[in-house]
């Protein structure tokens, strides 16, 4: 499965391309920027007891997540085996799974408890931090 993913024409193209890979990499960063750019103010507003502007910010968070995840899969397939063996990548995936489960669980509540808000913030920042460490692990 992993071998197959790495051997697809798309993975091969991404590994060899001059422009596609950096563009996909930029798309991944843009997705992260939009996700956290929406999520951080939303959760900080909640922690301060102010209007989190969920109606405005949540769609951006979800769109950013979709872009980051889509581009992330493309980056992953260029070196799937290496990434799976990378401890920072493993930590990132674990944190991402917890963050997604946490978000899904609380999605139906409009008023988020402060504790859950802080956990959400820490989880997503943890995903960011672990993701950055992939290149250094």
């Amino acid at each position: 499965m992993i071998d197959w993913l790495e051997s697809t024409g798309l993975a091969e193209h991404l590994r060899r391309s001059r422009w596609t890979y950096p563009l996909v990499s930029a798309g991944h960063l843009l997705g992260i920027a939009v996700l956290l750019g929406a999520l951080v103010p939303m959760q900080v507003q909640r922690l301060r007891g102010l209007d989190p502007m969920v109606r405005v910010l949540r769609p951006y968070a979800i769109a950013g997540l979709a872009l980051a995840a889509g581009c992330g899969v493309l980056l992953f397939m260029t070196r799937a085996e290496d990434y799976l063996a990378n401890p920072a990548f493993q930590a990132k995936l674990a944190l991402l799974a917890i963050a997604l489960a946490h978000a899904t669980w609380y999605l139906r509540l409009d008023v988020l408890p402060k504790r859950a808000t802080a956990v959400s913030l820490l989880l997503w920042l943890g995903v960011l931090g672990a993701g950055r460490m992939i290149a250094f692990a």
Binding site: R16, P22, T78, A88, V119, L122, A130, A135, F136
Partner: protein
């Protein structure tokens, strides 16, 4: 929360171990020209960075070569960088003498010179 903390710790513990990650630019390298001759024992080519492991004088060196477009522009094929081949690398080594890392400007393979950075002397 405990699980979160543990995963965060895992990510942090991974921090001090910095083996073969590639560097941007040249600021991290020593200014003096450096040459290394040895045998390629491993090659990880492709985006975002091309990295060779080269055994030279009983030491294991990490050699940063180009991305595919740069290698191609210099006339270097993946086959030339395959493990088992002999290579001479000219470029700059890490300024930190403890690091056996060199970023290549030119590669000598089979008596032929390939210029990865024609703009750099």
């Amino acid at each position: 929360m405990t699980l979160t903390r543990r995963s965060l710790l895992t990510a942090l513990i991974a921090l001090p171990a910095l083996p073969a990650f590639a560097h941007h630019g040249w600021r991290w390298t020593d200014d003096g020209e450096f040459e290394l001759t040895g045998r390629i024992t491993a090659a990880q080519l492709g985006n975002p960075h091309g990295i060779l492991t080269v055994e030279a004088n009983g030491e294991v060196w990490t050699v940063e070569v180009g991305q595919p477009w740069r290698n191609e522009q210099a006339g270097v094929t993946d086959a030339m960088l395959a493990p088992g081949g002999d290579i001479t690398v000219r470029g700059h080594r890490a300024a930190d003498p403890a690091q056996l890392v060199v970023k290549a400007e030119r590669l000598l393979i089979g008596g032929q010179t390939y210029d990865l950075y024609p703009d750099r002397s």
